[in-house]
Amino acid sequence: MIYYFLYGLSFFGVGLAAYLQLRRGGDFPLRKALPWLAAFGLTCGADGWVEMFLNYETNAELLQVLEVLRVGLQPLSGLFLFIFGWSTFSKLQPLPKWMIFVPGILIVPLAYILTYALSTFVTSSPIEIPIDIWSRYLLYLPGSIMSGVGFLYQWYTQRKLGHSDVAKLMLGAGAAFLIEALVMGMVVPAAPYGPASFYNYDRTLVDALTGETTQTTTQYGLTAWLDDARVLDVTGLPIVFWRMLSALAVVGFVVRGLDVFETVQRHQMELLQTERDRAQQEAFNAQIAARRTAENWSNALIRISSRIAELEDVDKTLIYIVDSACQLLNADFTGLALLNEDSSHLNLKYYARAGQAALVSEPVPVSSPLLHQVLELRMHCRTTEEEPFSQLHDTCFFGPGTPLYLEAVPISLDTQAIGVLWAVRFMPQPFTETDLIWLDCLADQVVIAVKHGFMTSQLQTLAVTEERGRIAREMHDGLAQILGYMNLQLQTVVSFLQQGKLERAQEKLDQMHEAVRAAHADVRENILSLRTTLADGKEGVQAIQEYLEEFGVQTSIITQFDNQISGELDLPSLAEVQLVCILQEALANVRKHAHARSVTVSLAREANGSSICLRVIDDGMGFESGAQSRSFGLQTMRERAESVGGSLRVISALGQGTRVECRMPCLRQEKVHRPGFIATTGML
């Protein structure tokens, strides 16, 4: 009785453990199959307890009920085990394609077995015997074997995944199910039909092969070999005990295996989480680094643009570009080579290495075929590990170093390639595609700088020509006229002297003296104007200050300078020149026409900081407003102002002096501070 109780208890334990495992949730293999294992365990446990009562119950009616229960429970539990086995077995993936024929081929033996099983129900043995036997052969045996194979497959997959603890338990579970297949599926009660009669009883198979008949001795006339009674004889323990042991092994291995699997899975989830956090941090850092790099590049490009806009020396700008490339690309050498005038040689002109950037004084020919290829084909080039390093010779100058990686871009002016910009690394770290894009941006800056250099040169030539023309005009209108006038006057004086008209001669000489004095003033003013330039590196405000002081001394007109600007004027260079010229023209007008005693020059930034305002106010005689349009000098001043985006306004009335206001747009707007908001707008 105790064996049957424990047998029932152990299988009930299997069912309960599977059910509890199922209720815990989680995502583990065989989760979908677990309800069937639970159902099997519970029904099989119930079957064991029914068997227990059947052996010791004496009430006939209750016995009948128990018999019916057992007849129902045994195939039912077998069916649940079969479904569980199929569920685990179907996890075997991927099965070979030819496996589709296996069920088809198995149909024939299955049909025979089923028919044979049905035929045993019409024999003289009690109904529970064939039910017991066929439940075991047709349900327990294949169910346990499939479960065993399914768990062995789990052992294989978990071992491959490196979950050795889980794998061992799965192996144990597989082995436990296979043992269960033996004790639950193959050991059956004695009966006069097969297949137990083939392997359960001595010599039956031999009989079939030899055609002889052996004398047999059991209740059905057969000698037991592997039936319930034989197991008891051999082991001293009933088969129920071994079945109970197999059930305990199954529940132990399966439940423990699922537990460990869950632990491993949780641990892996934690590892994954940590890995994800680390990856996120790395991505964040990479994002910051990328942003910083982009900022560095942007700042460098802005600085280069500023230098170009400020008409800095082209060589200096190009050295700065090469140096920036070297630093920002983390390169060991960067070079800028340009074609010579007849485009016959590619010469290194600028280079940077080890924090040093310089202009190459003597032409250094560049013979690298790779760089020539970049120039001729106007293609971008970036070496990778796959390319031979021998191609990189003659790409690094002025020092030792073995170039390992190179990137190069052509410098194209309009449609013609004029040079190559390249960077070289000695360290084993190839340039990225982004590096190549940045280098190309710098190449564009090189092109802009070179173009600006050409334009500046042309402008300077133009300015010199214009200035010479202006001086020629001044001499023609001033000195030449006066000298012509003096020549005529001298002839007149000579004539008066020959005629003895001394008074008239004296009168003419006085006029000539006055004319010479006026001419002298003009010449001195012109000399002052010519001296007052910005070419000496003077600031605009300083030049104005000095000019005003000199003007006051020369003309004896009281001058006042009201400068309200601190620091630089923030005007483009050309605008600054035009502003000084407009001031000179205005003061010349004051000296020549206004008959003023004093003049006030003020320089102020407009309220919104977007422009500079120059005011020249005198206390002279003034003029009618209609005279403005006829004044060639005022017209010139207006044109000068408008040529750089500025404006000119003249306010005057007879006897009330003159007020000239000139406004020039600033190079950049001042930062406007507002509460909680800092805006920077640009006008580059």
Binding site: I100, I107, A111, Y112, L118, S119, Y193, F198, A208
Partner: protein
């Protein structure tokens, strides 16, 4: 029936199954060769032919467990001139050899020697028919009134036909799925042949199933109509009393199996289900009809009453 006696249903049913398969296959082959290239036909039919060979071999192996001693079973052919049993064994062995040659020709030389294949195939079918004929003659014994009846031979041939029809259809379904990846260029032809064959085979199965039931019921009525025949009454009692469960099950499985076969073919031709969805119903159909025939054969052997000693 003890276990060793089950060798008889194994042998007879499997031989009839193999013969029925080859008959259906060669009927199909002869018809579809008019529209389809010979090599394509060979490729489509070679796996069912190979399965027929395995079936014949299994039948012969199974038969050995019934003979007194498997190692001297070849002596069974010694009485070829006067024993139907010797002739049965003789024709069975010839069927095996002929089927093996067919397998060789269709697998190794697809599309070649069509005339040889044609005549060899029909010869194998004829050998199978001769085997079934000899087999049935073995049971037409005056001492066995239950067997000694024209329906014995008719039922044997009917078994061959219905088993052949259902199994060929099931194998073609399996092969169509299996070969989808290996011979994708033949997928359309396979599909067309499967539908064409299914529509005809289902009628074969329905008619033969009706004939089987009619013959069995007729035989029962015939025995009932002869209350004075003690042998007939004894056999009837065995069938309708001791083996009633199996007797009823035999008809139930036959009816359900044939009905399912018709349903599967309808699903296929009406394209209501994919081939993958049809595999399991096709398996079940085949299993049910095979079980029906095995049950019928079991009853045939179990319900006979020997006259005399």
């Amino acid at each position: 029936m003890n276990l060793r006696e089950w060798a008889l249903p194994v042998y007879t049913i499997l031989m009839q199954l193999a013969t029925g398969m080859l008959l259906i296959l060669w009927l199909l082959r002869s018809t579809i060769l008019k529209q389809t290239a010979a090599d394509v036909v060979d490729k489509i039919l070679r796996k069912p032919v190979a399965i027929a060979l395995i079936t014949v071999a299994a039948a012969l192996v199974g038969s050995h467990f019934h003979l007194s001693n498997p190692w001297i079973s070849f002596l069974a052919v010694m009485n070829l001139g006067r024993s139907w049993l010797s002739r049965e064994v003789f024709f069975s062995v010839l069927s095996l050899l002929g089927t093996a040659m067919l397998v060789y020709l269709t697998w190794v030389h697809p599309g070649e020697r069509p005339r040889i294949k044609f005549w060899l195939g029909w010869a194998v079918v004829a050998l199978g028919a001769a085997t079934i004929f000899s087999m049935s003659r073995c049971y037409l014994l005056p001492t066995q009134p239950a067997w000694n009846h024209p329906t014995t031979m008719a039922l044997f041939f009917c078994s061959a036909l219905i088993l052949g029809a259902v199994s060929v259809f099931t194998i073609l379904v399996m092969d169509a799925i299996f070969s989808r990846d290996y011979e994708p260029d033949l997928a359309e032809e396979r599909d067309a042949i499967l539908k064409w064959a299914g529509r005809r085979l289902v009628w074969v199965a329905l008619i033969v199933a009706a004939a089987i039931m009619a013959m069995n019921i007729g035989r029962v009525l015939e025995m009932r109509a002869a209350p004075e025949d003690a042998m007939a009454q004894a056999a009837l009692a065995l069938q309708l009393e001791l083996y009633r469960l199996l007797f009823d099950l035999r008809f139930v499985t036959l009816i359900i199996g044939t009905g399912m076969f018709a349903l599967v073919v309808h699903w296929l031709t009406a394209q209501k289900k994919t081939l993958d969805q049809l595999v399991t119903p096709a398996y079940v159909t085949c299993l049910l009809i095979l079980m029906a025939e095995i049950l019928g054969r079991f009853l045939f052997y179990a319900a006979h009453v020997r006259l005399g000693t």
